[in-house]
């Protein structure tokens, strides 16, 4: 118990939350995490930086039960730091799992989707509800993965910007939840 508490206090010091970001207190953040401005982290969302730091850009929405983990690969050398980068304007919907090390901008991970460690996501992609990706690849821009057998297509447009939703959440969430205080890098 005591060891866990000490671990928590140690990792909490690595947490960097931007001034305009909105991180609910009930979210679970472990390790070296940087959260950019206007990003919203819902209660019960989990972000774990195990193998290296996680850098999250601006205006992302990370919903309840979303699980973002920079996992230590089995057999990998723990001394090599592996950075997970998440761009801006991405939406992580309820109960999605993101284990990859790269995500661009304006992507949507729909409910219960799963992105494995080998899948790099570029810009404007949509991973449909319940779709699982476990290969080693880089998704081309504006890819849409949908349906029970993960069919693919390339869309014309990127998914809509989540700014309206962010405006709404910044008004609502502060009324009912305690927030984690923004803290700078030092």
């Amino acid at each position: 118990m005591s060891s866990q508490a000490s671990h928590e206090s140690k990792s909490k010091s690595d947490l960097k939350i931007s001034d305009q970001a909105l991180v609910c207190h009930e979210s679970k953040l472990r390790g070296d995490i940087t959260i950019g401005p206007n990003t919203i982290v819902h209660p019960r969302a989990t972000i774990i930086a195990e193998a290296g730091p996680i850098i999250i850009g601006a205006s992302n929405i990370i919903e309840e039960q979303a699980y973002i983990i920079n996992r230590l690969r089995p057999g990998a050398d723990p001394s090599i730091v592996q950075v997970m980068e998440i761009g801006s304007n991405n939406v992580f919907e309820v109960d999605c799992v993101f284990e990859s090390s790269m995500m661009g901008n304006q992507n949507v991970l729909e409910v219960k989707s799963h992105v494995g460690p080998g899948v790099e996501i570029s810009d404007g992609c949509i991973i449909g509800a319940g779709c699982k990706l476990n290969g080693n690849e880089r998704l081309p821009e504006k890819s849409v993965i949908y349906g029970s057998d993960c069919a693919r297509r390339i869309a014309m447009d990127k998914p809509p910007h989540p700014s309206l939703q962010i405006d709404y959440l910044t008004k609502i969430l502060v009324k009912y939840h305690h927030l984690k205080k923004p803290r700078s890098a030092n």
């Binding site: 949509i126 297509r153 014309m156 447009d157």
Partner: protein, 497 residues
């Protein structure tokens, strides 16, 4: 639900000889027989769109090719398309400095994010887009199809004409007598006699047929486009077979040519017993309602058998199984076991007696005149084609097990059962509310090791018939003894050591 009723574990024998789980069967309360989907008449009650829930009369539905005119399916993933609105700013034609904002609508799929903009279809000014907004292209075949349909219709008329000529000598007397009535035209008489309307003269039919131009085979076939040899194939741009077949008129090869297709209509169907033409199931007409006007599912009338536990099945060794009987009716019922042969004999006996006892004359609904509807089909029940791979020791036929009536409140009642039944503890293991667990011994066949052990038995049960018939003036619930056959799949047989 399928798991709950153990769809492939316990199967009942339908009157027609089909094996079905009880959840998929009907029970006709008039001829007191089990009916399955294959031995009922299906009738379409209404056509409706599953998206906008609009009811269409069947004539209109046929006219609109059984498709809804306002709802569309995604051509990419075949789910329903949703209408989305956007505001577009348009420069005022009168005043170049003024900018008007206009609301425009387009269709988009929530599943695969396909939009009508993907294929370059223009946004619409109104929310409800009619189908002819964009489905104009590629309908070059429609005229030829209409000509062919007309030709086949004429052929049919000619054939009917010839047949009527042959039968003219034997016009029934009853029809002729109608002509004496004053004020009745020939068309009226035909309608009353249940005959189709009068045909045009044979000479006009022949003339019209002569006008038809048959298709001519071409010597030259259009050559393949140059690009097919030179350009690399992008598999993402090619439509799948499902997408192509969803649009039979155009069958596009490239995803650029996909256009939304009108949504197919759904039907509400009622099921009618083949023996007595009474409804066994009739849904509510309103598409938004999931209730039924009449619903005689077998699981509301026939005791249900479920398999509870099986001891390891070893060839030619006795092993115990526990099954549970539950009584779905509001009256107590008595169950006794019989062998399959006895049950089959009883079922056949029942079939022979039916026509004159359980379907009294004059009971058929008045709308069903013999002219509009075919007479009830009496089919020989087919033999059951399932191989029994285990013998079961049944309690003797005089062992009667009484099942308490179903009480919906009993589920929430914690008090222990106060009912007293004189059960043989060797057979009845456990009782609760309307259920009784019974222990049976099964001897799997030794030479069938590795296969599934299928056992079969018949059982008699008492059923209270609450249908009042006009023939019997005094209404009194009738107690009848019915029998049913079931087959149980108990699992794999192990090798005997």
């Amino acid at each position: 639900m399928a798991l709950m009723f153990q769809s492939d574990v316990v199967q009942y024998v339908c009157t027609c000889g089909q094996l079905k789980p009880i959840s998929l069967m009907y029970f006709c309360r008039h001829c007191l027989k089990l009916r399955c989907g294959y031995c009922v008449c299906h009738e379409v009650d209404s056509h409706y769109c599953s998206n906008c829930l609009e009811i269409l009369p069947s004539a209109e539905a046929r006219l609109k090719k059984h498709r809804c005119q306002t709802c569309f399916d995604c051509p990419n993933c075949l789910n329903t398309l949703a209408v989305r609105a956007t505001t577009v700013s348009v420069r005022d034609p009168d005043d170049p400095n003024k900018v008007n904002s206009l609301k425009k609508y387009y269709h988009s799929c929530f599943f695969c994010r396909w939009t009508t903009r993907d294929v370059g279809l223009p946004d619409q000014a109104v929310q409800t887009v009619s189908a002819n907004g964009w489905s104009q292209k590629g309908e070059s075949n429609i005229q030829r199809i209409n000509v062919l349909l007309e030709y086949v219709r004429l052929l049919g008329m000619q054939e009917r004409h010839e047949r009527e000529q042959r039968e003219k000598k034997f016009t029934p007397r009853s029809r002729r007598t109608f002509t004496h009535h004053p004020g009745l035209t020939a068309a009226h008489v035909r309608k009353r006699a249940g005959l189709p309307p009068e045909l045009p003269a044979p000479s006009t039919i022949r003339d019209n047929l002569a006008e038809f131009q048959p298709a001519v085979a071409k010597e030259e076939v259009a050559s393949l486009p140059e690009s097919i040899f030179t350009e690399e194939l992008d598999i993402d741009q090619v439509t799948t077979l499902t997408q192509r077949l969803a649009q039979p008129e155009t069958q596009p090869e490239s995803i650029v040519d996909l256009i939304p297709s009108c949504k197919h209509l759904c039907t509400k169907r009622s099921q009618r017993c083949r023996g007595c033409e009474h409804n066994v199931s009739k849904p509510d007409l309103n598409p938004s309602s999931i209730k039924f006007k009449i619903q005689h599912a077998a699981s509301f009338h026939v005791p249900e058998v479920r398999l509870v536990s099986v001891q390891p099945l070893i060839g030619s060794k006795e092993c115990e199984i526990v099954i549970v009987f539950s009584n779905p009716s509001q009256q107590p019922t008595t169950i006794s076991f019989i062998t399959l042969e006895e049950a089959e004999a009883e079922a056949q006996e029942h079939t022979e007696v039916t026509p004159d006892t359980s379907v009294p004359q004059g009971e058929a609904p008045p709308s069903l005149s013999s002219l509009t509807r075919s007479p009830p089909v009496m089919e020989e029940p087919r033999p059951v084609s399932i191989a029994v791979t285990g013998d079961v020791n049944l309690p003797t036929a005089d062992v009667e097990i009484v099942l308490a009536p179903k009480d919906d409140a009993a589920e929430y009642d914690d008090s222990s059962d106060t009912q007293q039944f004189h059960d043989d503890p060797q057979i009845v293991v456990h009782r609760r509310a309307n259920k009784a667990s019974l222990r049976l011994t099964v001897i799997p066949h030794a030479d069938k090791a590795g296969q599934n052990c299928t056992i079969g038995f018949g059982f008699r049960y008492t059923y209270i018939n609450r249908i009042s018939t006009p023939a019997s003036a005094s209404f009194e619930p009738q107690k009848v003894q019915l029998s049913s056959r079931t087959f149980l799949n108990c699992g794999k047989i192990k090798e005997s050591q």
